[in-house]
Protein backbone atom coordinates (compact mmCIF):
# COMPACT_ATOMS: atom_id res chain seq x y z
CA UNK A 1 0.00 0.00 0.00
CA UNK A 2 1.26 3.46 -0.73
CA UNK A 3 1.59 6.01 2.02
CA UNK A 4 3.22 9.39 2.30
CA UNK A 5 6.97 8.96 2.17
CA UNK A 6 8.44 9.56 5.64
CA UNK A 7 11.37 11.91 6.15
CA UNK A 8 14.70 10.46 7.24
CA UNK A 9 13.99 11.45 10.83
CA UNK A 10 10.50 9.95 10.72
CA UNK A 11 11.87 6.72 9.31
CA UNK A 12 14.59 6.56 11.94
CA UNK A 13 11.96 7.16 14.62
CA UNK A 14 9.84 4.37 13.11
CA UNK A 15 12.78 1.97 13.40
CA UNK A 16 13.34 3.09 17.00
CA UNK A 17 9.69 2.35 17.85
CA UNK A 18 9.98 -1.02 16.15
CA UNK A 19 13.06 -1.88 18.22
CA UNK A 20 11.47 -0.76 21.50
CA UNK A 21 8.19 -2.60 20.93
CA UNK A 22 10.10 -5.66 19.70
CA UNK A 23 12.20 -5.61 22.88
CA UNK A 24 9.03 -5.59 24.94
CA UNK A 25 7.53 -8.39 22.87
CA UNK A 26 10.66 -10.51 23.16
CA UNK A 27 10.17 -10.70 26.93
CA UNK A 28 7.27 -13.10 26.44
CA UNK A 29 7.20 -14.20 22.83
CA UNK A 30 8.64 -17.43 21.41
CA UNK A 31 12.46 -17.21 21.53
CA UNK A 32 12.78 -17.48 17.75
CA UNK A 33 10.87 -14.23 17.35
CA UNK A 34 13.99 -12.45 18.67
CA UNK A 35 16.19 -13.30 15.68
CA UNK A 36 13.21 -12.75 13.40
CA UNK A 37 12.73 -9.20 14.72
CA UNK A 38 16.43 -8.47 14.40
CA UNK A 39 16.40 -9.57 10.78
CA UNK A 40 13.32 -7.47 10.17
CA UNK A 41 15.12 -4.49 11.73
CA UNK A 42 18.13 -5.17 9.50
CA UNK A 43 15.82 -5.08 6.47
CA UNK A 44 14.33 -1.78 7.62
CA UNK A 45 17.76 -0.28 8.29
CA UNK A 46 18.92 -1.17 4.81
CA UNK A 47 16.13 1.06 3.47
CA UNK A 48 17.28 4.10 5.46
CA UNK A 49 19.09 5.72 2.48
CA UNK A 50 15.71 5.85 0.68
CA UNK A 51 14.56 8.36 3.27
CA UNK A 52 17.69 10.09 4.56
CA UNK A 53 19.31 12.43 2.03
CA UNK A 54 23.08 12.16 2.21
CA UNK A 55 23.13 8.45 2.96
CA UNK A 56 24.20 6.36 0.02
CA UNK A 57 22.79 2.91 -0.67
CA UNK A 58 25.19 0.13 0.16
CA UNK A 59 24.92 -2.56 -2.55
CA UNK A 60 26.02 -5.23 -0.10
CA UNK A 61 23.29 -4.29 2.39
CA UNK A 62 20.74 -4.26 -0.43
CA UNK A 63 21.79 -7.80 -1.30
CA UNK A 64 21.48 -8.84 2.33
CA UNK A 65 18.08 -7.19 2.60
CA UNK A 66 16.87 -9.19 -0.40
CA UNK A 67 18.00 -12.41 1.27
CA UNK A 68 16.41 -11.41 4.58
CA UNK A 69 13.09 -10.52 2.98
CA UNK A 70 13.10 -13.72 1.00
CA UNK A 71 13.90 -16.00 3.92
CA UNK A 72 12.74 -14.40 7.18
CA UNK A 73 9.34 -16.09 7.10
CA UNK A 74 11.00 -19.48 7.21
CA UNK A 75 10.79 -18.97 10.96
CA UNK A 76 7.08 -19.76 10.70
CA UNK A 77 7.40 -23.16 9.06
CA UNK A 78 11.01 -24.26 8.62
CA UNK A 79 13.15 -23.51 11.65
CA UNK A 80 16.20 -25.33 10.30
CA UNK A 81 15.94 -23.39 7.05
CA UNK A 82 15.68 -20.19 9.11
CA UNK A 83 18.83 -21.09 11.02
CA UNK A 84 20.67 -21.86 7.79
CA UNK A 85 19.55 -18.52 6.34
CA UNK A 86 20.99 -16.66 9.35
CA UNK A 87 24.23 -18.63 9.02
CA UNK A 88 24.34 -17.72 5.35
CA UNK A 89 23.80 -14.03 6.12
CA UNK A 90 26.47 -13.94 8.83
CA UNK A 91 28.91 -15.75 6.56
CA UNK A 92 28.31 -13.15 3.87
CA UNK A 93 28.95 -10.39 6.44
CA UNK A 94 32.20 -12.08 7.46
CA UNK A 95 33.41 -12.26 3.87
CA UNK A 96 32.37 -8.65 3.28
CA UNK A 97 34.19 -7.52 6.43
CA UNK A 98 37.35 -9.24 5.23
CA UNK A 99 37.14 -7.72 1.77
CA UNK A 100 36.46 -4.25 3.18
CA UNK A 101 38.98 -4.16 5.99
CA UNK A 102 41.58 -6.87 5.40
CA UNK A 103 42.04 -6.61 1.67
CA UNK A 104 45.60 -5.85 0.63
CA UNK A 105 46.07 -2.11 0.13
Amino acid sequence: MSREKPTGNDYLFEIAVFLATSAQGCLNEPPLYGPFRLLDALSKLADLPDYAPGLAHDPFLKEIKAIVDDKKFLVMYDVEGFRRAIDEIVEKFAKELKSRYLAPK
Binding site: M1, S2, R3, E14, V17, F18, T21, S22, Q24, G25, E29, Y33, R37, D40, F73, M76, Y77, D78
Partner: protein, 181 residues
Protein backbone atom coordinates in the same frame (compact mmCIF):
# COMPACT_ATOMS: atom_id res chain seq x y z
CA UNK B 1 -17.73 -21.81 -0.38
CA UNK B 2 -17.55 -25.22 1.21
CA UNK B 3 -16.52 -24.97 4.87
CA UNK B 4 -13.68 -27.46 4.49
CA UNK B 5 -12.36 -25.54 1.49
CA UNK B 6 -12.23 -22.41 3.66
CA UNK B 7 -10.58 -24.25 6.56
CA UNK B 8 -7.90 -25.73 4.34
CA UNK B 9 -7.45 -22.79 1.97
CA UNK B 10 -7.06 -19.95 4.48
CA UNK B 11 -3.50 -18.65 4.90
CA UNK B 12 -1.80 -15.93 6.89
CA UNK B 13 -1.20 -13.15 4.38
CA UNK B 14 1.73 -10.76 4.74
CA UNK B 15 1.45 -8.66 1.58
CA UNK B 16 -1.72 -6.86 0.58
CA UNK B 17 -3.19 -4.74 -2.19
CA UNK B 18 -4.29 -1.24 -1.27
CA UNK B 19 -7.97 -1.75 -2.18
CA UNK B 20 -10.39 -0.63 0.49
CA UNK B 21 -12.55 -3.31 2.12
CA UNK B 22 -16.25 -2.44 1.67
CA UNK B 23 -18.31 -1.83 4.80
CA UNK B 24 -20.74 -4.67 3.93
CA UNK B 25 -17.88 -7.15 4.03
CA UNK B 26 -16.59 -5.76 7.32
CA UNK B 27 -20.07 -6.24 8.79
CA UNK B 28 -20.17 -9.85 7.63
CA UNK B 29 -16.79 -10.51 9.25
CA UNK B 30 -17.92 -8.94 12.54
CA UNK B 31 -21.20 -10.83 12.42
CA UNK B 32 -19.30 -14.10 12.02
CA UNK B 33 -17.27 -13.19 15.08
CA UNK B 34 -20.25 -12.68 17.33
CA UNK B 35 -21.70 -16.08 16.37
CA UNK B 36 -18.70 -17.95 17.73
CA UNK B 37 -19.17 -20.39 20.62
CA UNK B 38 -18.89 -18.76 24.03
CA UNK B 39 -18.29 -20.47 27.35
CA UNK B 40 -21.27 -19.74 29.62
CA UNK B 41 -22.50 -17.55 26.77
CA UNK B 42 -20.43 -14.73 28.24
CA UNK B 43 -19.78 -13.21 24.82
CA UNK B 44 -16.90 -11.19 26.22
CA UNK B 45 -15.77 -9.86 22.86
CA UNK B 46 -15.56 -6.29 21.68
CA UNK B 47 -14.46 -5.53 18.14
CA UNK B 48 -12.64 -2.31 17.28
CA UNK B 49 -12.58 -1.70 13.53
CA UNK B 50 -9.58 0.41 12.56
CA UNK B 51 -9.89 1.92 9.11
CA UNK B 52 -8.47 5.41 9.65
CA UNK B 53 -5.26 5.37 7.65
CA UNK B 54 -3.21 7.47 10.06
CA UNK B 55 -4.39 5.53 13.09
CA UNK B 56 -3.73 2.25 11.32
CA UNK B 57 -0.21 3.41 10.55
CA UNK B 58 0.38 4.18 14.24
CA UNK B 59 -0.94 0.78 15.27
CA UNK B 60 1.35 -0.84 12.70
CA UNK B 61 4.33 1.07 14.06
CA UNK B 62 3.85 -0.31 17.57
CA UNK B 63 3.08 -3.84 16.37
CA UNK B 64 6.23 -5.71 15.34
CA UNK B 65 4.09 -8.64 14.20
CA UNK B 66 2.06 -6.44 11.82
CA UNK B 67 3.82 -7.40 8.60
CA UNK B 68 2.75 -5.64 5.44
CA UNK B 69 0.36 -2.75 5.13
CA UNK B 70 -3.39 -3.21 5.12
CA UNK B 71 -6.39 -0.91 4.66
CA UNK B 72 -8.09 -2.43 7.69
CA UNK B 73 -7.50 -4.09 11.02
CA UNK B 74 -9.90 -5.38 13.64
CA UNK B 75 -8.78 -5.51 17.24
CA UNK B 76 -10.61 -8.24 19.13
CA UNK B 77 -10.78 -7.42 22.82
CA UNK B 78 -12.27 -9.16 25.82
CA UNK B 79 -14.36 -7.50 28.50
CA UNK B 80 -12.64 -8.86 31.61
CA UNK B 81 -15.14 -7.34 34.05
CA UNK B 82 -18.10 -8.93 32.28
CA UNK B 83 -16.25 -12.24 31.97
CA UNK B 84 -15.56 -12.24 35.72
CA UNK B 85 -19.12 -11.30 36.64
CA UNK B 86 -20.59 -14.11 34.56
CA UNK B 87 -17.85 -16.72 34.63
CA UNK B 88 -15.75 -16.00 37.71
CA UNK B 89 -11.98 -16.41 37.55
CA UNK B 90 -12.34 -19.15 34.91
CA UNK B 91 -14.33 -16.76 32.74
CA UNK B 92 -11.92 -13.88 33.20
CA UNK B 93 -8.67 -15.81 32.82
CA UNK B 94 -9.47 -18.55 30.31
CA UNK B 95 -12.92 -18.44 28.70
CA UNK B 96 -12.59 -14.82 27.63
CA UNK B 97 -9.39 -15.67 25.75
CA UNK B 98 -10.70 -18.88 24.17
CA UNK B 99 -13.98 -17.18 23.22
CA UNK B 100 -12.13 -14.37 21.47
CA UNK B 101 -9.91 -16.91 19.72
CA UNK B 102 -12.95 -18.78 18.43
CA UNK B 103 -14.50 -15.50 17.29
CA UNK B 104 -11.31 -14.70 15.41
CA UNK B 105 -11.31 -18.07 13.64
CA UNK B 106 -14.88 -17.47 12.49
CA UNK B 107 -13.82 -14.06 11.19
CA UNK B 108 -10.80 -15.46 9.35
CA UNK B 109 -12.84 -18.12 7.58
CA UNK B 110 -15.59 -15.73 6.53
CA UNK B 111 -13.02 -13.19 5.35
CA UNK B 112 -11.36 -15.89 3.26
CA UNK B 113 -14.70 -16.93 1.79
CA UNK B 114 -15.27 -13.28 0.85
CA UNK B 115 -11.97 -13.18 -1.06
CA UNK B 116 -10.04 -11.34 1.64
CA UNK B 117 -6.71 -12.13 3.22
CA UNK B 118 -6.02 -11.91 6.93
CA UNK B 119 -3.28 -12.40 9.45
CA UNK B 120 -3.66 -12.69 13.20
CA UNK B 121 -1.22 -10.60 15.18
CA UNK B 122 -0.46 -11.04 18.86
CA UNK B 123 2.88 -9.23 18.71
CA UNK B 124 1.67 -5.72 19.41
CA UNK B 125 2.60 -3.37 22.21
CA UNK B 126 -0.49 -3.75 24.40
CA UNK B 127 0.00 -0.54 26.36
CA UNK B 128 0.57 1.52 23.23
CA UNK B 129 -2.45 0.06 21.46
CA UNK B 130 -4.67 0.71 24.52
CA UNK B 131 -3.49 4.31 24.60
CA UNK B 132 -4.04 4.92 20.89
CA UNK B 133 -7.50 3.39 20.77
CA UNK B 134 -8.57 4.77 24.15
CA UNK B 135 -9.42 1.34 25.50
CA UNK B 136 -10.77 1.28 29.08
CA UNK B 137 -9.02 -0.52 31.95
CA UNK B 138 -11.17 -3.67 32.00
CA UNK B 139 -11.07 -4.22 28.27
CA UNK B 140 -8.13 -6.35 27.20
CA UNK B 141 -6.80 -6.38 23.61
CA UNK B 142 -6.48 -10.06 22.71
CA UNK B 143 -5.78 -10.39 19.00
CA UNK B 144 -5.33 -8.00 16.12
CA UNK B 145 -6.73 -9.24 12.83
CA UNK B 146 -5.29 -7.43 9.84
CA UNK B 147 -7.45 -7.56 6.74
CA UNK B 148 -7.09 -6.72 3.05
CA UNK B 149 -6.99 -8.15 -0.41
CA UNK B 150 -4.05 -10.53 -0.73
CA UNK B 151 -1.25 -9.55 -3.12
CA UNK B 152 -0.03 -13.13 -3.49
CA UNK B 153 -1.00 -16.70 -2.80
CA UNK B 154 1.19 -18.34 -0.17
CA UNK B 155 2.14 -21.98 -0.30
CA UNK B 156 0.41 -24.21 2.25
CA UNK B 157 2.49 -24.61 5.40
CA UNK B 158 3.50 -28.01 6.69
CA UNK B 159 1.00 -29.64 9.05
CA UNK B 160 1.81 -32.42 11.50
CA UNK B 161 0.24 -35.66 10.18
CA UNK B 162 -2.96 -36.72 11.90
CA UNK B 163 -1.41 -40.03 12.99
CA UNK B 164 1.03 -38.10 15.19
CA UNK B 165 -1.55 -36.03 17.02
CA UNK B 166 -4.77 -38.03 17.11
CA UNK B 167 -5.45 -40.89 19.52
CA UNK B 168 -8.33 -43.27 19.95
CA UNK B 169 -9.91 -43.75 23.37
CA UNK B 170 -6.73 -43.12 25.34
CA UNK B 171 -3.66 -40.98 25.02
CA UNK B 172 -0.97 -42.58 22.90
CA UNK B 173 -3.23 -45.19 21.30
CA UNK B 174 -3.04 -44.87 17.54
CA UNK B 175 -6.04 -43.38 15.78
CA UNK B 176 -6.32 -45.42 12.57
CA UNK B 177 -6.28 -43.13 9.57
CA UNK B 178 -5.26 -43.24 5.94
CA UNK B 179 -5.23 -39.47 5.76
CA UNK B 180 -1.75 -38.35 4.78
CA UNK B 181 -0.26 -34.84 4.75
Amino acid sequence: MDIFQAVKGRRSIRRYKSDVVPKELIEKILDAGRWAPSGGNIQPWKFIVISDRNLLELIRKVSPGYLGETPLAILVCSDKEKAYKVGGALGRDYLSVSDCSMAVENMLLVAYALGLGTCVVKSFARVAVKEMLEIPEDIEPELLVIVGYPAYEPKPPVRIPLREIAYLNKYGQNFPTNLEE
